[in-house]
Point group: D2
Chain length 352, copies 4
């Protein structure tokens, strides 16, 4: 249990390093008889592929997905689904000089201390490339949610200080930042290009919605639905904060403002973000998360080498300027995984 | 696995209902030979006891802790530690009329949907009283952390819209809101009293620090230290948002601002909040969380009964006006539990 | 995870020491709306109570069961069920002189090495008294199985070298050894008395049957139904061997003898013991286990003290001559727990 | 959690079907800095390879092992180790006619009932070919045990009714049945050939020893060392019984015979098989298991098709006559995995 698994019943384990032979994911506990093809997964994988936007990483990976087990004649069989993504465009040379350095904002220092050894190439296991496995598993989870008419989607509400002032859902997949406000998207694009030219990077805020989630998902106490969602989202490398519903806004609310009144048609507003007492209440689930700027900047930085001697570092290599939009399918993936897991846990007790 | 457990190696399971016979916690995986007495636990329990502050719940519980197993001649033996807290001042009468209602902001509706049955008295299992078990387990965790010179403490940085403008650590345990700024604490007290008289409640923000945490704790990928901390904190009923280090602030930072430079003495600032790539980096761990107002207000609210017919509800019974300061020892407890768990996981691999 | 839990979805954790204040069990994941009373549990507890047979331990414990949580108005609520059994007739004096000795056949030596500390009184946590918690949880599991028309029962087929030559099911609960052959039971009683007078103890073989088990329970590969059953049974202190169906007999069979032919009505014989490929096949599940003699004998034994100096030991105190019949309800309990766990796991995937 | 994982800290998950693209194993929790090469794994894999003995399956698989992650410059890094074995010699034609039949002694029927779908080719996931993943993970576990001077080895003590009358350890790897008695091995070879010509198959008994195991491994109560070993061994498809130390022999022992006296040098005999109270006592661990005959026989059998209509079945295809010797490295593998897992669990608590 080196921490690479998630889920109780729908159990997902990712593996692989940025510059290793391949990366992948293993799903144990997928219900049988769900239709699943490589295309279903590829579609999601393409949404996080490098090199798709202005400020995006120029590493060229096709990220071709291959299903190695668990699917027979187009359907899941209930046995483990092993999915592999081969690394193709690996060039570790730029990392040679950073082999004995600890890049600020990266996990180099902590992996070295924890394990006493690390694959430094491309960040090794700590690379954001690890998330290809999550996206693949998320695609499987989405197929299951689809059967239950549950839909998960995410979008950018802030990037580089620019905020989406309105939410037009149809707009989301039309611009490269998956921003629901077209004007904001255009301003974001300009901002990202500006920052890229300075060799710097930007952060932002992503919002996630779950539509059609039945009430009753989530276990009380420790495995509350929002607790598992917070864990799943906070486990994405760049995420530094997670909130549900009114989120940090609740701190300045009165109880009479914060409580959602209930009427014959259901909840009359949704400051709870669709979850009460750790259990979904049938309203849309609303989550928001803070994404830090990509730590690989080409501006000179102070750091130390493995003997703790000061060195000056200027990162070369290929890097995104903004973690968004590529983090969006990753967010959707982990949320989908959490939901399927809780769906199965609920099925286990509800129809006995 | 009804979701009442937390931890991989240091495994904590709480049980009990607000108006049942007793509540308690079971700890499996506590290392042997740690000194532990009922007083060690009672001390923490007293910090969350009802009835200690201006706006606090008038339910009178002594919350006497009894250790039933796992300790021999003042030391832990490595076997499960069972701790019980008897309910004494139980009066379910005020809940009789709410038996078939769903209180807004509470878990009444979702428990009913999930289980088809619920113990409505005092909120049953969904009551904040469940946290007595967490605090007891946290006290055990703190004893273990103490041996390793790790200290966890929390304080209020905002309550009812009033913000602590400075942090004076010595002040924290001197005022009832555990606020590190005396003037703010006084303003908070006034605010809470004001809101209480209106029959309303307030929310706030708590900050948590971990001092002396060694680098190397946390597992990469899914069981990142901040992911487990986020889960643990988000699993506290009233928490709606969690952030680490610069938190949501990262959204408006550039990479060059957000990265913490490393010098020969270590990290030169701490926007990472002591965690990089999911693993502690030796700096202080800094967490912040948003706490919603207590949902039990005496102001009239719209809701429905179990047949979804509209009813008007005015809650009587005994309730806190502010979830703070009683939530503070609960926050410390869950953080301590996460740290011990990761400490043990790290020991398992580091000295083989 | 000190090893005191069992089960994935129906999760049982026992706690308590032989001479501590109390023992108990915590069940997390029990489905809601199952009828459950203290009497349901007491009935099973009484079947393992000390002092009921010729050779049985004269410790006088009423083993009164108390349900502390998870049941409301006679039904389970889906929240953790905490059950406590208070120790009443504790006399640790006979153990004082054995405090620094390692009793042969007991866990004294291994607990001391593992933990560096142990509660020596009555064997502490390693005492067979730990099984009160298993029996209580098993009683809950049996209630759930009852709803599904699944019945688990066990009986003695060999004791002190005397073998039941025939199986008359009605006879089982009529004699103190729960032996399905009346004549054998009488011979067993005589044998046990004879051995008791010599200060010695005897072993035996127990057989377990599960009737009405639906096909489809059990997960392939590691969590095969027989694998989980073997673990559960082998985790009972005195058990040294477990077999399913034809068991060790398969070693001398040909494939053509061992395979169970399948006809339109189902399996034509049952050498598989009701499990194929780790999954129940609808036939009766048949298990057998070897039980070692109680290690506490009053005959003088060679051992060492905690400084590894040789000493001669003659055990006083109160002990059973035969682990049977008291082990029988324990066997039934763990089998029932495994079945409920797999029943829930199967429900999770089968009706999505 | 479809049951394809084993272990708490050293967590092994196998995947793949007999006639799919590949099979493999994922190890999460392997300690860092252990030397590991593909050759280390290949060596063990070759010991279970098809086609190596008189009666063995003529399927020609080279079973080339490829490490895809978790190893850097010849050492483990603490991140997940993904190992793949490609299927090469796949011929599913002989299975076409069995697609709608349930082969006696196989999991065809139970998989169909459990999942409502199955990959029938070569037995799919239920094939003994799944064990390539176990053997690969076992090879990694053995490398770790080697560092701790712990050695696991297994051998045949009975096959087709022929029993090894003596144990000469050096003989074990010298004959194809891994039988420690040369004459018995020769008789076994003759017997297997005889049975093969009849189109039938044989069963046997394997014994396993662990040398150099330190005392203190194993968790009390449910995760007793012998309980986890029993589960691991019983999870091997062909195993129908498991015993430790004197095993089923204890049933006819007196307490005074069964107890192992302790002297200044340690245990004076080893009927406990190296485990007391679920914890290793420093003596050799001794296990025995019953292996059923391979169910694929070419003799005609009665069975039914998927509509439960009777059919007569004569299995063609390529099959072993005896599950031994190929099961031997599988037994060693799972025992090694259990030991490493408990070694890590013990490290977690012992040196805090």
């Amino acid at each position: 249990m080196g921490g690479n698994s998630f889920g109780t019943l729908f159990r997902v384990t990712t593996w692989g390093e940025s510059h290793g032979k391949a990366l992948g994911v293993l799903i144990d506990g997928c219900p049988p008889k769900t239709e699943l093809s490589e295309e279903d997964i590829q579609k999601e994988m393409d949404r996080r592929r490098p090199g798709q936007g202005g400020g995006s990483s120029p590493r060229k990976e096709r990220d071709r997905v291959e299903i190695l087990s668990g699917v027979f004649e187009g359907k899941t069989t209930g046995t483990p689904i092993s999915i592999i993504i081969w690394n193709e465009d690996v060039n570790s040379t730029p990392y040679d000089e950073m082999k004995d350095l600890f890049r600020p904002g990266h996990a180099d220092f902590t992996y070295q201390v924890k394990y006493g050894i690390r694959d430094h190439r491309g960040g090794g296991r700590a690379s954001a490339r690890e998330t290809v496995g999550r996206v693949a598993a998320g695609a499987v989870a989405k197929k299951i949610l689809e059967q239950e008419k549950i839909r998960v989607f995410a979008y950018t509400i802030e990037l580089g200080g620019i905020r989406a002032e309105k939410i037009v859902y149809d707009e989301i997949e039309r611009n490269i930042f998956r921003c629901p406000h077209r004007n904001a998207a255009m301003a974001m694009e300009k901002k990202v290009e500006e920052v890229r030219l300075q060799g710097d990077t930007v952060g932002g805020i992503v919002e996630i919605q779950v539509r059609g989630c039945p009430s009753g998902l989530g276990e009380p106490v420790f495995d509350k639905l929002e607790a598992d969602l917070a864990k799943a989202l906070m486990s994405i490398g760049a995420v530094r904060g997670v909130e549900v519903g009114a989120g940090f806004g609740v701190a300045r609310m009165l109880g009479s403002e914060c409580n959602d009144p209930i009427g014959p048609e259901g909840f009359e507003k949704n400051d709870a973000g669709g979850i009460l007492g750790g259990i979904s209440n049938g309203a849309d689930i609303i989550l928001r998360l803070a994404v830090k700027p990509v730590p690989s900047i080409s501006i000179e930085q102070r750091t130390v080498d493995s003997s703790m001697r000061p060195v000056s570092l200027q990162i070369k290599g290929r890097h995104d300027t903004s973690p968004i939009p590529r983090i969006i399918p990753v967010c959707e993936a982990v949320v989908a995984i959490v939901l399927v897991d809780h769906l199965l846990r609920q099925k286990a007790i509800e129809r006995l």
